[in-house]
Symmetry: C2
Subunit: 160 residues, 2 copies
């Protein structure tokens, strides 16, 4: 990695891989919860993630590069933690609290990544990419806020 263009492209590939993994994980998380509210949030975010994948594909096109992911160790670890919760929770309330925690950790990872990438795209003069990244960033922040609201509204409280 010699230039900011290399670093930016690497991160586009990294988050592309991550979004694909998230796309696979969310239906499992929706299936694992007994809370209709949380189930709906996971399903809604799964649909949003499809749009986020498409936006990344548009960025590959802007860069004139083939659409290709690269293994993202961070998302592998974050999803492994969500799987651990699904495997080990022996109570509905504990399951939901653990799923909420895992989902918010994933959202925060994405918020950090899209925030950084939007700043880099701006420096690189890639105005159209900035717009696409900011659109996704806004969705990730809203998803995180919704999860906080669900947690506060009682999913966690029921389990304590």
């Amino acid at each position: 990695m010699k230039t900011m263009d290399d670093l930016f492209l690497h991160h586009v590939k990294d988050i592309y891989y991550a979004e694909k993994q998230i796309l696979k994980a969310l239906p499992k998380m929706a299936k694992a919860t007994s809370s209709p509210e949380l189930k709906k949030a996971f399903e809604h975010h799964r649909d949003e993630t499809e749009g986020q994948v498409e936006r990344l594909e548009q960025i590959f096109e802007i860069l004139g590069k083939p659409v290709r992911g690269v293994k993202c160790d961070a998302i592998e670890g974050l999803i492994a933690e969500a799987k651990e919760v699904m495997d080990e929770a022996e109570d509905d309330g504990v399951m939901d609290a653990g799923l909420l925690a895992s989902a918010q950790a994933v959202e925060h990872y994405e918020i950090a990544r899209y925030g950084t990438m939007s700043a880099w795209a701006s420096q690189l003069g890639l105005a159209k990419a900035v717009k696409l990244l900011d659109e996704t960033l806004k969705q990730e922040k809203a998803a995180d806020q919704l999860l906080t609201k669900i947690a506060a509204s009682g999913v966690n409280a029921e389990a304590s």
Copy 2:
């Protein structure tokens, strides 16, 4: 994991392991950067992390449990990404931008985790633990804001 107490304790162990890994990674990141500002930020946060580890040890004591970490896959992945940057960046500006991105991803993970754990501790009536967790959460948010400020002030700009 049958109760919220189990889930809370598991997360205390998980973040305790994570903080210990961060304690080892930060001096390497401080060594890898050529920016005095970023070096100072990493060193300062290393010192803060020592205090955060001590606070977690106080929480183990409050819970009446032995101080023990449990492997945290998420932090392993996040630190693997930082190592990748350190191994592959061939330019000082690219190195600093990549280190900033990695550090902010770690901060966001911690912000998500401490936020969740503080909410759980509050539900569990562990007022003293809430205070300790909130103190660390405040430091993590400040560290993230400082990194954003450094990124905006030119570390990234120099590399583009």
